[in-house]
Symmetry: C2
Subunit: 238 residues, 2 copies
């Protein structure tokens, strides 16, 4: 079924009448020129997809009626990428788009010792995640956390609960390859990716003290956002 | 050693005096303000790295003397990515940059049935590959082929010689996962990535007739450039 589909994060029940936001209404009525009686879909980013019928084709307050809902379960494995904010915002945005396409469950922006800029625009970044989720036809929107100071990461519930925890760094230490370290039978993985100048030895030590496994992402020196996408690939794609 | 390093593709022997291009000379003399007697490095993209000393710090025609050369062998495994040109040139450029960082040996732009634009700028694209190679501290520049019509690909020597050949597509057919299909003991792999609208059934058939293995790159629908980076990761990074 390739009906037009729009992001609508609010809960919606069958037979309920829903008034869509202005942006979405405009797209449906003015751009697609859809009319009363026509069908479209709404996705809430939490696995639910509603088949709806247009009741009132208002260009700012389009009203639809929910006919049915299908639900896809959350991905069996939950992959979280904690990655330093980057000096170049578009590189960080590129990472978020790609990580979402690949299927990560959570993105945790970090503020590390060598993080150069704390460039973070919550709404803009959320829109990038939504577009990437819709583009790749997935049902679940990755959670985008507020930026955290590096040390705070170790007190987060998600960190404590992750079944496998990895830190990727470029220091000359014993490291396993992430590819062989990941266990697809474990239900959750978390990996830490540092800023352009890498993690400091103290930051690496803190992760090791919290039982993180130091890993390598191959033989070449990757940019931070590339490391993020490579890690997402090696953790999500089997 | 973190001396400044510059791309210089011409052959150069020990004790030879080399005149550097204008762009490079300007950077050395005006931007870095280096002087006679100082050292820097030149990389030729074919595994050679020369340690040189500045003889004449001319801002357009800087002259250096080659002191010594170290050579790194070509990567043991040769990974080639044949990928459709994309409508959005900057997405294709992102792909090339990331594929180079990850370590591919060759990029073959394809013109497929559903390729929307044949946007290809040889010099600009080569510069992207050079920058990415230098950034990731590698010795070997990926070969960037001229764009090929899809059918011509099967007559290329590189295609015929590749030990493992894959085609990634989204059609509903039996496919192996690339992750499990790749054999790291084989010395060369080639993968085909289609345009935004995927390969046509005829194009897929042609590849299968030439003994390409159809593969999947995971469960989600990836953009073409994302598929390229995911494939590069799964083929290069062990």
């Amino acid at each position: 079924m390739s009906l037009p589909i729009f992001f609508y994060p609010e809960p919606a029940s069958v037979n309920e009448l829903v008034q869509l936001p202005e942006e979405t209404s405009k797209h449906i009525v003015q751009v697609l020129r859809m009319d009363a009686g026509e069908h479209l879909q709404l996705a809430d980013g939490k696995g639910n997809q509603h088949l709806v019928i247009i009741a009132e084709p208002h260009k700012k307050k389009c009203i639809v009626k929910v006919l049915s809902t299908t639900t896809v379960p959350a991905p069996a494995r939950k992959i979280s990428i904690a990655i330093s904010l980057l000096k170049n915002a578009s590189r960080f945005e590129w990472f978020m788009e790609k990580a979402t396409e690949i299927g990560v469950s959570a993105i945790i922006p970090l503020i590390c010792d060598r993080t150069e800029k704390q460039h973070f625009k919550k709404e803009r970044f959320e829109n990038i995640l939504v577009s990437a989720m819709m583009q790749s036809q997935q049902g679940w929107l990755p959670v985008l956390h507020q930026p955290l100071q590096y040390e705070q990461l170790f007190r987060m519930e998600d960190t404590i609960l992750a079944k496998q925890k990895f830190i990727a760094h470029c220091e000359e230490n014993r490291k396993e390859s992430l590819r062989s370290a990941v266990d697809f039978h474990q239900s959750s993985q978390l990996i830490l990716i540092g800023p352009e100048g890498d993690f400091t030895p103290l930051e690496i030590k803190l992760a090791l003290d919290h039982h993180f496994t130091p890993v390598t992402l191959g033989d070449t020196r990757l940019r931070a956002e590339t490391a993020g996408v490579v890690a997402a690939t090696l953790l999500c794609i089997h």
